[in-house]
Amino acid sequence: MPKVIVVTSGKGGVGKTTTSASFSSGLALRGNKTVVIDFDVGLRNLDLIMGCERRVVYDIINVINGEVTLKQALIKDKHCDNLYVLPASQTRDKDALNLEAVGRILEELKESFDCIVCDSPAGIEHGAFSAMYYADEALVVTNPEVSSVRDSDRILGILAAKSKRAVEGQEPVKEHLLVTRYDPKRVAAGEMLSVDDIQEILRIPLIGVIPESESVLQASNSGTPAIHLEKSDVAEAYRDVVARFMGEDVPMRFTTAEKAGFLKRLFGGR
């Protein structure tokens, strides 16, 4: 049964697009036929992070307007065989992204893909709503700070009340908490919320913790999803997330600061 997964957060800049790129790549690496759709019409970024910006000819709005077929608009990813990108339009009116048209596209994609990942724009406006409406599951991306947690709470409320599953009284959207940009040292110092703090507020199951890392920025700039980076804790963390999503029992990592050395322990450090 094909799945529609929305990557959402409410707040901007928390790592939705980075997560969409790595998560969809991870699903594809595990053999799932996957498509990732950029819903951020007017501010498209996913193509940059996937490194396919020079191959964008048509976009989702062209498909909605019936100017091209889905096949013509899909771009094959350069890293994974099983992965396709459906880019957003940079120029069109975002109101073109109407619910009915999005539903039609998703139905058509379900015929040939196992996983459909929807990269939501920030906010709770039209684009974000279109991205989440048809979701079967949701990755709620949250940074360890109060404003991000509050916005995620708002999004969870909308998912629970206004998504198609909620409106039609079906089984609710399956929610997963993904904490990104996590810095255990700053958490220990009381400068950031801990994973426990976040879960205490949001009360949904944790699917993973992505550590704060400079390599994410390098990956974005080079058009390579972070999951492909060699010897990177971010890549490992995203692989764990994908494994957990596929139902594997993988212990949580990157939630605590590296153990203090022997000398530090001897002299009273933690």
């Binding site: 509050r150 916005d151 709470d153 708002r154 969870l156 409320g157 909308i158 629970a160 009340a161 507020i201 009360r203």
Partner: protein, 287 residues
């Protein structure tokens, strides 16, 4: 205090035997809010109402309001009803009529499209009461007398009920309790109209619970809870872990600018109204 039961009524088909009844007229006793004007200075009234409605934007929510003019009869001042009505409409208050006041004031009100409601006569002597069935009380509409200098809001029945003795007594109508078993999240608002509200999951910061009756929360309350929203001063809030942004009973509210006091923070607590004071007390689970 109310109830549309047992009043004498006339079926249209009593007088039109051949045609199907297109309407019937019934004597109803409906709960309405009375806005007692304590000063003819309408600018002052509007200013204070404005402040009040900022705190409780949904207090009236298109409910019919009767303007009580009894206190203005002596002053015999002319009142600009059209202006006051404009103001009320823009704040979602529906003025239904006036009660009391001088003949001139009532005349002006009628010209502005308001009904003139006769003053309720004093309750008849006990002899009459033994003949009539007692009027059942609807719990959630109870009493409401949030006092403000200058104005006063109160629920009253519109007219004295006259139940014919032949009809059986009607039972009070209560709406079933609204039960919420999922988290109430930022931006969500739950309104239990004319009913009590029970929440079994967390109420997060930025969420709002409103009930015309009591509110029970068997989880942490981190958002707002407003009980007795239509003026029931006897309404209470019970919360398993008090972490609220705001609690209110019948429009009297308490915020926690300086944080929640230690003796109730995170505690099983109840909130009630003592006079005009919102009281929050920890509750012992060992009773």
């Amino acid at each position: 205090m109310t109830g549309a039961h047992g009043a004498p009524h006339f079926h249209a088909d009593d007088t039109m035997p051949r045609e199907q009844a297109a309407f019937k007229i019934k004597n109803a006793n409906l709960p309405v809010l009375i806005l007692h004007l304590k000063t003819p200075n309408l600018a002052q009234v509007k200013a204070q109402l404005e402040t009040r409605l900022k705190q409780m934007p949904d207090f009236f929510a298109h409910a019919p309001v009767v303007l009580g003019l009894a206190d203005l009869a002596e002053a015999d001042a002319a009142l600009d009803f059209p202006d006051l009505l404009d103001f009320m409409r823009s704040h979602r208050m529906q003025a239904a009529g006036v009660q009391g006041g001088t003949a001139a004031q009532q005349d002006a009100a009628a010209k502005a499209g308001l009904g003139v409601i006769p003053e309720i006569p004093a309750r008849p002597a006990p002899v009459v009461e033994t003949e009539a069935e007692p009027v059942p009380v609807e719990p959630e509409t109870g009493l409401a007398q949030p006092d403000l200098p200058g104005l006063e809001v109160e629920t009253k029945v519109e007219a004295e009920p006259v139940p014919p003795p032949t009809l059986p007594p009607a039972l009070p109508e209560t709406r079933p309790t609204l039960i919420i078993d999922k988290p109430v999240r930022t931006g969500q608002r739950i309104h239990a109209e004319g009913a009590n509200l029970v929440v079994l999951a967390i109420v997060n910061a930025g969420a709002e619970l409103i009930a015309d009756g009591d509110i029970h929360i068997y989880a942490p309350l981190r958002g707002r809870a407003l009980a007795g929203a239509r003026g029931n001063t006897a309404a209470r809030i019970y919360v398993q872990s008090m972490e609220a942004e705001l609690v209110a009973i019948a429009g009297y509210f308490q915020v926690f600018d300086e944080g929640i006091p230690d003796e109730i923070r995170g505690k099983f607590s109840q909130v009630y109204l003592a006079g005009e004071k919102v009281v929050i007390k920890p509750m012992s689970s060992k009773r």
